[in-house]
């Protein structure tokens, strides 16, 4: 697992897996879209509007997951002085930002027909909006310093502070009365979502994750190259 903290090992490892990854993510996305648009049934309450879920939920999960990964890399990077951790932080922040935007837009499009409103200031929606702001600030800091060592540390500290938002997003629907419904899938109980709808959701999540990994690899490689360029 050295490739997670060593740029040379990372380059070697990802050169092997990147081509199968292209193929796999393409297949997954096609199969997932087929399932979610044609093969999955209509919901008993929401009709075919439920299909927005297959985009909305995976992008929300990935937005949170990417921030979580950045938090781990920030803590490890600051504590053990690993430069590769900061390279990863710089590379994957925009990906998380895009997933947060997708999540907010699809959620809005889903909310209008179902709830009767594009946007309300309930705890879940507000905390995700704050997540987007934190992501944007991280991306902006990444582009606004000339001293890389200083920038990296500020970004890492900001990510650690921003990570407080993650449990708040996750548990907001349980702690407070919100318009957003609570989680359908949790570890401790059987999912309250039918298997015919769970399968497309999981395939879409897998394909979104694969695409995120793919773009991350390309961006991290680019970041490694550009830093080597600056040093030499």
């Amino acid at each position: 697992m050295k490739f997670l903290i060593n740029p040379n090992k990372f380059n070697k490892f990802t050169d092997i897996i990147i081509k199968p990854l292209y193929l796999l993510s393409a297949i997954c996305l096609v199969v997932g879209l087929l399932f979610s648009l044609y093969l999955s049934p209509n919901d008993y309450q929401q009709g075919s509007t439920v299909r927005i879920m297959y985009i909305h939920v995976p992008s929300a999960w990935l937005a949170l997951l990417i921030f979580f990964i950045m938090t781990i890399y920030s803590i490890v990077g600051l504590a053990f002085k690993i430069p590769f951790a900061f390279i990863v932080n710089t590379a994957i922040a925009p990906i998380g930002t895009i997933f947060t935007i997708i999540c907010l837009i699809t959620g809005s499009l889903w909310g209008k027909p179902m709830w009767g409103t594009w946007w309300v200031w309930d705890a879940r929606l507000t905390s995700v909006a704050i997540l987007l702001l934190v992501y944007l600030i991280i991306v902006f800091i990444n582009y606004s310093f000339t001293k890389i060592e200083l920038k990296e540390k500020i970004v890492a500290i900001f990510i650690i502070i921003g990570s407080i938002n993650l449990p708040i997003i996750k548990f907001s629907v349980d702690w407070w009365n919100t318009l957003h419904q609570p989680a359908s899938i949790s570890k401790f109980s059987s999912p309250s979502i039918d298997i015919a709808m769970l399968i497309p959701l999981l395939i879409m999540t897998l394909s979104f994750a694969l695409i995120a990994v793919l773009i991350s690899i390309l961006r991290i490689k680019y970041e490694i190259l550009s830093r080597k360029d600056k040093i030499s």
């Binding site: 049934p41 008993y44 879920m53 600051l78 053990f80 709830w115 009767g116 009365n177 609570p182």
Partner: protein, 145 residues
């Protein structure tokens, strides 16, 4: 303990303190963060009349009445208490009896509210339409929402 583990400990501790500070703020301002009150919470708390407030609960079965064109009347109930709602305007697609709804409006008394907006609230259960139909055929459909 080496220097790097001291740094790790410091970062984790400061994260913990910051987290507890934020959670303390959030939990102590719970009244302002909740999106809506349930009818029971409304009775328990001191809520000023003639102010805008949001109330969420289930639409009581058999209480929905159409008074005039786009003017409706229904009860919101959380099984213990209920509140009567008067509303003029459009209802969202998902609005129906025994479904969750959140309304925003001016509180006239603790048992009557004049709504200006109605949101439908849906729950976390997803099920194919065909299964619901076959369940109904077998009279196995018992979930009440």
């Amino acid at each position: 303990m080496t220097l790097r583990f001291q740094r790790l400990l410091l970062i984790l501790l400061s994260l913990l303190f910051l987290l507890s500070a934020i959670l303390l703020i959030l939990f102590n301002s719970k009244k302002n963060i909740v999106f809506f009150y349930t009818p029971s919470e409304l009775l328990e708390n001191n809520v000023e009349l003639n102010k805008t407030i949001r109330i969420g609960a289930f639409v009581q079965k058999g209480s929905f009445k159409k008074i005039a064109d786009r003017t409706y009347e229904f009860n919101l109930s959380d099984k213990k208490n209920f509140i009567k709602v008067m509303y003029t305007g459009f209802l969202p697609d998902l609005f129906r009896e025994e479904q969750g709804a959140v309304i925003e409006g001016i509180l006239i008394s603790k048992k009557l509210i004049k709504a200006s907006t109605v949101y439908a609230k849906h729950d976390e259960n997803y099920m194919p339409n065909s299964i619901k139909k076959s369940l109904e055929l077998n009279e196995y459909w018992q979930r009440k929402y």
